[in-house]
């Protein structure tokens, strides 16, 4: 980040839809974490995953790739 002309910037607008985990269906396999292009999904202390909403762009890959259907895309809040 120091070299070149690129400067750090705040990630842009908030996404329309954000992922929401259903903890009863989630088996904590980590596939959502592996397939997130924006590195938005983090592993919490309890082993469950959650999205950093500053980074999430709402693409829906985690919702599509979850084998157990534990992730649904919801409006924020």
């Amino acid at each position: 980040m120091d070299e070149g002309k690129a400067k750090p910037f705040e990630p842009g607008e908030k996404p329309l839809l954000v992922p929401l985990w259903d903890k009863e269906m989630c088996v904590r396999c980590g596939l959502c974490y592996l397939f997130c292009p924006d590195a938005a999904i983090k592993r919490g202390d309890d082993g469950y995953y959650e999205a950093t909403l500053d980074y999430c762009k709402g693409c829906g890959i985690c919702h599509q790739e979850c084998w157990f259907g534990a992730i649904s895309m919801m409006e924020e809040g």
């Binding site: 690129a6 910037f9 904590r28 980590g30 592996l34 790739e65």
Partner: protein
């Protein structure tokens, strides 16, 4: 630690090196996903990561020997390239191919030529990969860095904007490309290709093509021709010929 604490994705390093503060990719970008997985493969090799050099795709010639084979590709539409160095010398060249070739939007033309050209020009290790198969990709990046001579890695990166599909299907479409053998995953060591993922049943190419709106203009005859082309290429690969 309970019995669910150790699934395979958690064996990868959790540290992130490619954060959204540093890039402005669209949502569901295949290249961003590929770069993130590549950087995960290079974990604990900081000197490799620091010396990595990007070649931005605009109006720059390809390095040395690959120029001649890519004349037909327009100058503005070259894919993004990542150079990795080892011991002060260029070692691994990674091509993130999002198929932004405007002149000929036909699958399986461009991708066949690049790895084959690289293998013919004496790269020691040549491989194709796709971010839909992350462990395969990570293995290949590591193997490329460990090989004795130069290596080349061709990564298919689905592009939701250019290919015209919903952003949530990025990973699925890459998987369809591999399962329909339009983009077979193989590695070439000392001239002999070996399929790293060989599905017992091959999907019809039709299913892959109909997922994207960029191929809407294709007629049935053209799809059949592509199917025949893909089949013959795949049989050759299975027999160990490039």
């Amino acid at each position: 630690m309970d019995k669910f604490a150790l699934y395979v994705p958690q064996l990868l390093p959790f540290k992130e090196h490619f954060l959204p503060e540093a890039h402005r990719a669209c949502m569901g970008c295949g290249i961003a996903l590929g770069v993130r997985q590549t950087y995960k493969a290079l974990e604990e090799k900081n000197e490799w990561m620091e010396r990595a050099r990007w070649e931005v795709p605009f109006k720059q010639p390809l390095p040395g020997s690959l120029i001649k084979d890519t004349k037909e590709v327009g100058e503005e539409t070259r894919p993004a390239l990542l150079h990795l160095e080892k011991d002060g010398q260029a070692h691994l060249l990674i091509c993130f191919d999002n198929e932004a070739v405007t002149a000929k939007p036909t699958p399986a033309v461009f991708k066949k030529t690049f790895p084959a050209a690289a293998a013919a020009r004496g790269f020691h290790y040549v491989a194709t990969a796709c971010p839909s198969y992350p462990f395969d990709l990570i293995d290949k990046v590591r193997r490329g860095m460990e090989s004795e001579g130069n290596s080349y890695l061709h990564i298919l990166s689905p592009c939701p904007v250019g290919w015209d599909f919903e952003s949530e299907f990025t990973v699925k479409i890459g998987r369809f490309a591999v399962e329909s053998a339009i983009f077979p995953l193989y590695e070439v060591v000392t001239g002999t290709p070996r399929l790293t993922i060989d599905h017992p049943t091959i999907r019809p190419v039709d299913q892959y093509i109909q997922m994207q709106k960029r191929f809407n203009h294709f007629k049935k005859k053209e799809i059949l021709a592509i199917q025949a082309d893909v089949d013959s290429h795949y049989t050759k690969l299975q027999e160990g010929k490039l």
